[in-house]
């Protein structure tokens, strides 16, 4: 007998069954799995669109992310340059090859040196967008794919995220619905699969492992800066 059969056998004995669940139960369990019924979702996100964006901003700021507003994509490069200057950071950036970011006039900002793709060890600043953000806890949601190497979210010391305000959703459940829809969309290139990695990012990296003192920048970014684009 394989270890698999032994473990399942032991489990079934302990559950008081001789074999797998009966067909009726199996159907019910399968229906539960594909039904995606939501459990309790906190009421704090029962807000209009503007309310959701301000809740997102409040929650993200509370966990030490910083937020800047611009009115449209044309202002993004200047806002990124301004942030890097104000924090005394280098102007070389590694940027996700993401179509959202293509909409910004990067070449007009001559001071920024931009490379598109995955980061290398020496990269100090990354710029990505986020396909969704969860107002409930100020959380960014990012999906791996050709247009978004996941290491951009973790390797450089500073992560700048360009977030069109319309992408702020209420809850994690909204994100699950959207990745499922994307997987099933023949134009998405996902071939029915979820992204390999879905990162929920809530503030910059931190550790409390030395005397429970809160320290930012443990392994991931020390700084998480969100540029909120108020209109798409």
């Amino acid at each position: 007998m394989s270890d698999r059969e032994i473990v399942l056998g032991s489990l079934r004995r302990s559950l008081g069954r001789d074999g797998p669940v009966d067909a009726d139960t199996a159907n019910k369990l399968r229906a539960r799995m594909v039904g995606h019924a939501r459990n309790i979702v906190p009421q704090r996100t029962e807000l209009d669109d503007a309310g959701l964006v301000s809740l997102f901003e409040e929650m993200a700021t509370r966990v030490h992310a910083t937020v800047a507003h611009v009115s449209d994509m044309s202002e993004v490069p200047a806002a990124v340059g301004e942030y890097l200057r104000s924090e005394n950071l280098p102007s070389e950036i590694v940027m996700a090859p993401d179509a959202t970011l293509d909409d910004a006039p990067w070449s007009e900002n001559a001071l920024l040196e931009i490379r598109r793709g995955a980061p290398v060890e020496s990269d100090q600043v990354s710029v990505t967008s986020a396909p969704a953000a969860v107002a409930e806890t100020g959380t960014l949601a990012m999906y791996s794919g050709p247009d978004h190497p996941s290491t951009l979210n973790f390797m450089p010391e500073t992560h700048v995220v360009v977030l069109p305000a319309g992408r702020v959703v209420k809850s994690y459940e909204d994100v699950w619905d959207s990745i499922r829809a994307q997987a099933g969309d023949p134009d998405s290139g996902r071939n029915g699969q979820l992204p390999r990695t879905v990162n929920f990012v809530t503030g910059p990296s931190r550790s409390g492992d030395i005397e429970q003192t809160l320290l930012l920048g443990a392994h991931g970014p020390r700084r998480l800066h969100i540029v909120l684009v108020d209109s798409e």
Binding site: R30, A37, N39, S144, P149, F154, T202, P204, R206, A218
Partner: protein
């Protein structure tokens, strides 16, 4: 190679730890932090208590149908290009990890924090086979340098002061300037970050644990604050997930409910910095991510707990709230418990996994104050289960002679109320006289062990029963 618990020595371990000044200083600092954090986070979410009920129901439902969900999960992992390995014992898990490491000729393995990794002693096995394990979680890294075990399931180095961390860094990072200033936590963190950053690129394999497995999608979830678990799984060629069977939930919606109570109960955060859903290896066209994705599903005694009075223990989501709120843990620290899982959850789980003969002292290390159950996000009746273990210990004649004689004597007296009242009345008067001067007793015959660390308030002279009998009533 077998597990090396010292749970049998709980009493001596505890005695040593009570006298350990560094430990007591470190515990004093951590205490308020976790307790206040949880209470604030719970207070900020009106639905928190209802979410706890739902989290409990989700875990119960999953355990009752665990064979179904495990098979559904396995099918999805394979569909996404991953591999599932079933491990009956810790030894099986070690063998599977080694086989995978050897298949890619691994020299170094990066590890995100994993309690299953600790339970299976993966590091010791890797070292014995010439493979270098690198713990990347800051707390785990510190204790790896010191050759210690974690003392807390989410804060592995909570037993150490910053001076001890500094000392370990100076002893180990000998390539750095010995005159460097290294006193404050930020400089310590920066040093660890710089040193570990290089190591991420040297490993062929990354091992993480899993906070949750999702049957619907074949995914695993890790919840971290540092980002080390993410770098550990994204950079090496191979990602191995070590998970015990009961980490399963049916859907992403169910996972969301568990996540809403997890961080709040653990660190008092609304949500941890990083919650990562991993499904299979990297896809065609992905610029990064692992080429292989393996999940090791560990039983190691858990299926035997199902169907027993200890089944509810498998709901545990490893938040650590029970130990953060436990007066015993807060006095003796995690190492005294002698194995991987300390505090109230360890006092129930360890006898379940190792046997009550190995770990029978642990369920006795409780004042039954009940705070663990009060704060448990999945409402595990920990005190009740500790009582169940005590009963089993007594029935198996494993409890110490003095305790058995004492209990026998008490039972004899309790069945003879007149004699009982006479004896306790005499005792009260005697103790009251002894403690008359200060109202407290610093030494009591037959209770020297108890009074060594605290004083006994002297009784006021009469027993509850005699006061009740003479008509006294609460105001």
């Amino acid at each position: 190679m077998n597990v090396h618990p010292t749970s049998r020595n709980f009493k001596n371990n505890a005695k040593e730890q009570l006298a350990n000044e560094d430990l007591q200083a470190a515990l004093n600092k951590a205490r308020g932090h976790f307790v206040d954090g949880r209470s604030t986070a719970a207070g900020n979410l009106p639905e928190f208590e209802d979410l706890r009920d739902q989290a409990r129901e989700i875990k119960n439902h999953t355990i009752e149908n665990l064979d179904f969900y495990l098979e559904a999960y396995e099918e999805k992992v394979v569909e996404n290009g991953g591999h599932v390995h079933w491990a009956r014992t810790a030894e099986d898990a070690r063998r599977i990890v080694l086989e995978i490491c050897r298949s890619v000729d691994a020299k170094a393995v990066n590890k995100g924090k994993s309690m299953i990794g600790e339970e299976c002693e993966i590091n010791e096995m890797l070292e014995a086979n010439g493979i270098r394990p690198v713990e990347t979680d800051l707390g785990e890294y510190i204790i790896q340098l010191r050759g210690e075990k974690p003392s807390h399931i989410i804060a592995p180095a909570v037993h150490l002061t910053k001076d001890q961390v500094e000392q370990s860094f100076r002893e180990n990072h000998t390539e750095l300037d010995p005159d460097r200033i290294l006193e404050e936590p930020p400089t310590l963190l920066n040093e660890a970050r710089t040193i570990l950053r290089k190591k991420y690129f040297e490993a062929e394999v990354g091992i993480t644990g899993a906070n949750l497995l999702i049957a619907e999608t074949g995914s695993s979830i890790i919840v971290t604050n540092e980002g080390n678990g993410d770098l550990s799984q994204l950079i090496p060629k191979v990602h191995i997930v070590l998970a015990s069977l009961e980490k399963m939930v049916p859907t992403l919606e169910d996972a969301s409910t568990i996540l809403r109570v997890l961080a709040r109960s653990a660190t008092g955060q609304e949500f941890s910095s990083y919650t990562t859903l991993s499904t299979g290896p990297k896809r065609e066209g992905d610029p990064d991510g692992p080429e292989q994705y393996h999940v090791i599903l560990l039983d190691n005694g858990r299926t035997d707990m199902i169907g027993t009075e200890f089944q509810d223990m498998l709901r545990c989501i490893r938040c650590g709230a029970c130990m953060n709120h436990c007066p015993v843990y807060q006095s003796v620290g995690g190492h005294a418990y002698g194995w991987v899982y300390p505090g109230p959850m360890g006092s129930v789980l360890t006898p379940g996994l190792l046997g009550v003969d190995e770990a029978g002292h642990l369920p006795n290390a409780s004042s039954f104050c009940g705070r663990c159950e009060e704060v448990c996000p999945v409402r595990i009746p920990l005190p009740k289960m500790m009582r169940n273990w005590r009963e089993q210990e007594f029935e198996k004649h494993l409890s110490p002679g003095a305790a058995r004689v004492g209990l026998g004597l008490w039972a004899f007296m309790a069945r003879r109320p007149k004699l009982y009242q006479l004896a306790t009345g005499l005792q009260m008067r005697l103790l009251a006289r002894m403690g008359r001067a200060r109202g407290r007793l610093s030494s009591v015959p037959l209770a020297k062990g108890w009074t060594k660390y605290r004083e006994l308030p002297a009784p006021e002279g009469r027993t509850f029963q005699s006061r009740w009998k003479s008509g006294e009533r609460p105001q």
